[in-house]
């Protein structure tokens, strides 16, 4: 098993599986660069499975390995990973994960819960549904496919009435880099926006 993972895994190929076709996968992988399927998978991975409160907008190397394993049908010992995550939460100031699963443990061990204050999962921010997917920047096109807004904007507009633009010189490396930076700023803005929404939801 160990050898099999080592032999087959390639960071580059894993990133190719995760990211959309037209993005630069040279460096770190931002959530905004992912396909709709892998974007949802990444969100579930770092919010539900290996829950964390920060660094949600980019894929860590561990995220990439875990997503690769999931996408290729490899079994990870999730029970072990989640116990490991619980152990990590004992560090000073770490937020505490799996609160709803701990309720099941209380029930199993008959911890008296009758007079204890409890909270339901927030109906607005709890479900990962259409609002969350739209917040990732994906919309459905006329064919019913989920497309990233950026890809729609980048796509050429087919309109016979529009005169053909004059031939442009091929984009050089600095223009591509500028494009990447603008995309990353957009990602960051979307991420900060969604964080404020969740803070707002908690306050209200």
């Amino acid at each position: 098993m160990v050898q099999e993972w080592r032999d087959v895994y390639s960071s580059h190929n894993a990133k190719m599986m995760i990211c959309r076709d037209n993005v630069n996968i040279g460096g770190r992988i931002l959530a905004g660069q992912m396909k709709v399927e892998t974007r949802i998978l990444h969100y579930i991975l770092c919010r539900c499975l290996v829950s964390r409160s920060t660094n949600l907008a980019q894929a860590t190397e561990e995220d990439i390995i875990l997503m690769w394993a999931m996408l290729t049908g490899r079994q990870v010992n999730w029970g072990h990973l989640i116990r490991y995550r619980m152990k990590k939460a004992l560090r000073d100031y770490a937020p505490l994960p799996y609160a709803n699963h701990i309720t099941d443990i209380f029930i199993k061990f008959k911890v008296p819960l009758d007079d204890e204050p409890f909270e339901e999962i927030n109906w607005r921010t709890g479900p990962i549904g259409s609002e969350v997917i739209h917040s990732f920047g994906f919309v459905k096109n006329q064919n019913g496919e989920w497309i990233h807004k950026r890809d729609m904007l980048d796509a050429p507009i087919h309109d016979d009435r529009t005169p053909s633009p004059p031939p442009q010189p091929t984009q050089d490396a600095s223009a591509a880099m500028l494009n990447d930076i603008i995309h990353e700023i957009r990602d960051l803005r979307a991420f900060v926006g969604s964080r404020f929404d969740s803070i707002d939801a908690r306050v209200t």
Partner: protein, 159 residues
């Protein structure tokens, strides 16, 4: 935020002490609180110093929408047996969650030990599986390193 709420409580308490003598439920309940939740002073002190103000990660879950839209990732999660864990919509008990973590120990063998409201919790791997429905088979990711972009991963098999 927790600090400001503590300050608020102190101010309210101070105002009440200056006012007319009334039965103050906080003051009656407060002294019994440690005994109600903890079975030793050491447990209580650990809780108050390290866990009482901890943030709790708000639980979230994949909505039915993900299934209805026929996303491939939903099938992946289904095939990996992760959906029962992910779709758990239980309510949660913030204070007891903090107490649970405050008393938590996880042994090298994966046994979870804790104590909440005088109830001792001892959960081995099989019981953890029955409660969470998370598989006990598969590769264990202990440490991961990357060297020059190549994965150097230590994976071991565990029951």
């Amino acid at each position: 935020m927790a600090e400001s709420s503590r300050k608020r409580k102190t101010q309210v308490g101070a105002r009440r002490r200056r006012g007319p003598a009334v039965n103050e439920p906080e003051e009656i309940i407060a002294p019994s609180q440690p005994q109600r939740l903890f079975s030793s002073v050491a447990q209580y002190e650990r809780y108050t110093s390290k866990f009482s103000a901890r943030d709790i990660l708000e639980p979230i879950y994949p909505d039915d929408f993900i299934a209805e839209q026929n996303f491939e990732c939903y099938d992946i999660l289904h095939n990996l047996g992760l959906l029962p864990f992910l779709t758990n919509r239980q309510c949660y008990y913030p204070k007891l969650v903090r107490v649970f973590y405050s008393n938590l120990q996880i042994t090298e063998e994966g046994v979870i030990l804790s104590e909440v409201k005088h109830v001792k919790i001892r959960m081995d791997i099989d019981m953890f599986y029955h409660i969470t429905q998370l598989g006990t088979q598969g590769s264990v990711l202990r440490e991961t390193w990357f060297r020059n972009g190549e994965m150097f991963i230590q994976v071991t098999m565990q029951k």
